[in-house]
């Protein structure tokens, strides 16, 4: 399966993936795949089960049922390999506020086991690309939010993972910075990195190649933004989302 998944061009392949907490089914038999190099938007209301699903995919939580392969590795038995082959950026940032930009890059390079010369080279490239060269020795905590987000994204890509998971990466920043962030996403996808992203900004859902919308632990819709809009006769993904998510009760009661 490992080899087959890669040959088939799937970065993620999930079948009936399920997670229970006691009698509560947070993720309820979800089946989907994400193609290599795809920008995949993983949408859902608060409490729909997104975070639980992501935790299973990144190897932080064991599924109760079902199978899934991420970067070709089994989420049941190869969680360590998965963690080494993915990048992850959460809305709370993975960077250390009291280390400088350069120190953060060096720290993560070390954690990922990159050789020092390679880290040096990647640091220079990253600083130039992000326009942060003159801020290399600034504390990350002092940087504007948008810069932190771009830096966190680049650091998540430092070890050249096959897939990067972005959990609400653009919350709170101005509309120009949000768009710059999406251009970084497109650039990474163009280099072959698969991008798995969650967002509450429905216009950003339109930037994805395909999106899924989770409602009450299930995937209620999956397709390209255009397909979904046509299927629901809606003007925007926002409309599709609201139609599907309204009436979902489990999340609120949870």
């Amino acid at each position: 399966m490992t080899a087959a998944a890669q040959i088939n061009g799937f970065a993620i392949d999930a079948q009936n993936l399920t997670r229970r907490f006691g009698s509560f089914i947070a993720v309820d038999h979800i089946t989907f795949d994400v193609k290599t190099g795809e920008v995949f938007g993983f949408l859902g209301a608060n409490g729909a089960g997104k975070t639980t699903a992501i935790k299973m995919l990144v190897g932080l939580l064991a599924p109760s049922e079902g199978v899934a392969h991420v970067a070709g590795f089994d989420v049941h038995s190869q969680r360590e390999q998965i963690r080494r082959n993915i990048g992850y950026m959460s809305q709370r940032f993975s960077l250390y506020a009291d280390l400088t930009v350069r120190e953060n890059i060096r720290l993560y390079g070390g954690i990922y086991g990159l050789p020092p010369a390679h880290i040096e080279e990647r640091t220079k490239l990253m600083l130039d690309t992000l326009g942060l060269a003159t801020n290399a020795d600034d504390l990350v905590g002092k940087l504007p939010l948008g810069w932190k987000q771009k830096l966190a994204f680049s650091v998540a890509l430092l070890h050249e993972p096959k897939i990067v998971f972005l959990d609400e990466p653009t919350g709170g920043v101005d509309p120009i910075t949000r768009r710059q962030f999406w251009e970084l996403i497109y650039a990474a996808a163009a280099r072959g990195t698969t991008v798995f992203v969650t967002t509450h900004y429905m216009d950003e859902a339109e930037y994805c190649d395909r999106i899924s919308i989770m409602v009450d632990g299930k995937i209620a819709a999956l397709g390209t933004p255009t397909e979904l809009k046509e299927r629901f006769g809606a003007d925007s993904v926002d409309d599709v989302f609201v139609r599907l998510a309204r009436g979902a009760k489990k999340g609120e009661a949870a």
């Binding site: 409490g47 919350g171 650039a187």
Partner: protein
């Protein structure tokens, strides 16, 4: 109609950062006024001054006709404030949070119940649950109930919809509409540009400065340059091609479209559309569709922020 809020040349700095830089505007009584801008724009500093929690460096501010420096105790009972992140007591239950806020203002939940009922009833079935165990949407409803329980004259809401999903956000704005209809003045901040459409007037704020204040429908009308929508084809490629067009002023992703702004204010958008269409066809984007459009709030915001983005992002 008198003004619920009056700001005159308000400034506030923290060390080197100018959080608010010469801000002046009025909010009319009964108005639903939106403050739209990203993190760090100065929204929270403004709310803290209006709620008398911070003293301005320069300028003056009144709320309900009361001065924020001299009349702070009088203001505090007139204002309902919902801070960012909701600021509930996590280890108190839903009912206890509400009772606490009522008690602080020397009133009771019963006296404020009529006003909060449409919101509070939705979470009342969970009244014994600790606030920390609530979902984002429920926390938001509880925080709004707590801000309203003492029947304030003005409601100040700092990013009440941040981190809340699209459905809860819509419902929240429906509730604000109802509260406004009851005569309450509401000042609400948001980083979501689309929410500005629900306000009577919006102030676009960035880096401590007010960029524009207008009714939401009027914001785009001041857009100074021809604006086109471009669709079809591979978006990232199309974006790059458009950025290389010599007359391009700014090119942005925009939902399922790209928005292209031309430098030439004097040329008709129709003529520019034809020109851009031909340019794209020459570059191999034969299925691209180009059409003039009118600007929305987000277009205006980006233009007012300073137009063209730095080259860092696209170069990667």
């Amino acid at each position: 109609m008198s003004n619920a809020v009056e700001l005159r040349s308000l400034s506030k700095s923290f060390e080197k950062v100018k959080a608010l830089d010469d801000v002046s505007f009025d909010v009319a009584e009964g108005e639903l006024f939106g403050l739209v801008g990203p993190d760090g724009a100065g929204k929270t500093t403004l709310f803290r001054i209006l709620t008398t929690l911070l003293v301005p460096d320069k300028g003056s501010a009144t709320v309900c006709g009361l001065d924020v420096v001299k009349d702070l105790w009088a203001i505090r009972s007139r204002v309902g404030y919902m801070p960012g992140g909701f600021a509930l007591y996590p280890d108190l239950s839903v009912a206890e949070n509400l009772e606490f806020f009522a008690a602080v203002f020397g009133t009771t939940v019963e006296k404020g119940y009529e006003l909060i009922a449409p919101i509070y009833r939705q979470i009342e079935p969970f009244k014994d649950r600790r606030a920390e165990a609530l979902s984002g949407g429920m926390k938001q409803k509880l925080a709004l109930s707590c801000a309203l329980v003492h029947r304030p004259d003005i409601l100040l809401l700092d990013e009440p919809t941040t981190g809340v999903d699209a459905v809860s956000r819509r419902e929240f704005w429906d509730q604000l509409g109802n509260l406004k209809a009851s005569g309450l003045t509401i000042v609400v901040s948001t980083p979501y540009m689309d929410e500005a459409l629900r306000c009577d007037r919006v102030a676009l704020i960035h880096s401590g400065k007010i960029l524009e204040i207008d009714p939401p429908g009027a914001v785009g009308r001041r857009y100074p340059l021809p604006l086109l929508s471009v669709t079809g084809g591979e978006r990232f490629e199309l974006l790059r091609a458009l950025r290389e067009f010599p007359e391009a002023h700014a090119v942005y992703l925009f939902g399922d479209e790209l928005h292209y702004t031309d430098k030439r204010a004097e040329v008709s958008a129709q003529a520019i559309a034809a020109e851009v269409q031909e340019y794209l066809a020459q570059r191999g984007h034969t299925d691209a569709q180009v059409a003039p459009i009118s600007a929305g709030i987000e277009d205006s915001f980006m233009e007012l922020m300073g137009g063209a983005p730095p080259p860092t992002a696209a170069a990667a």
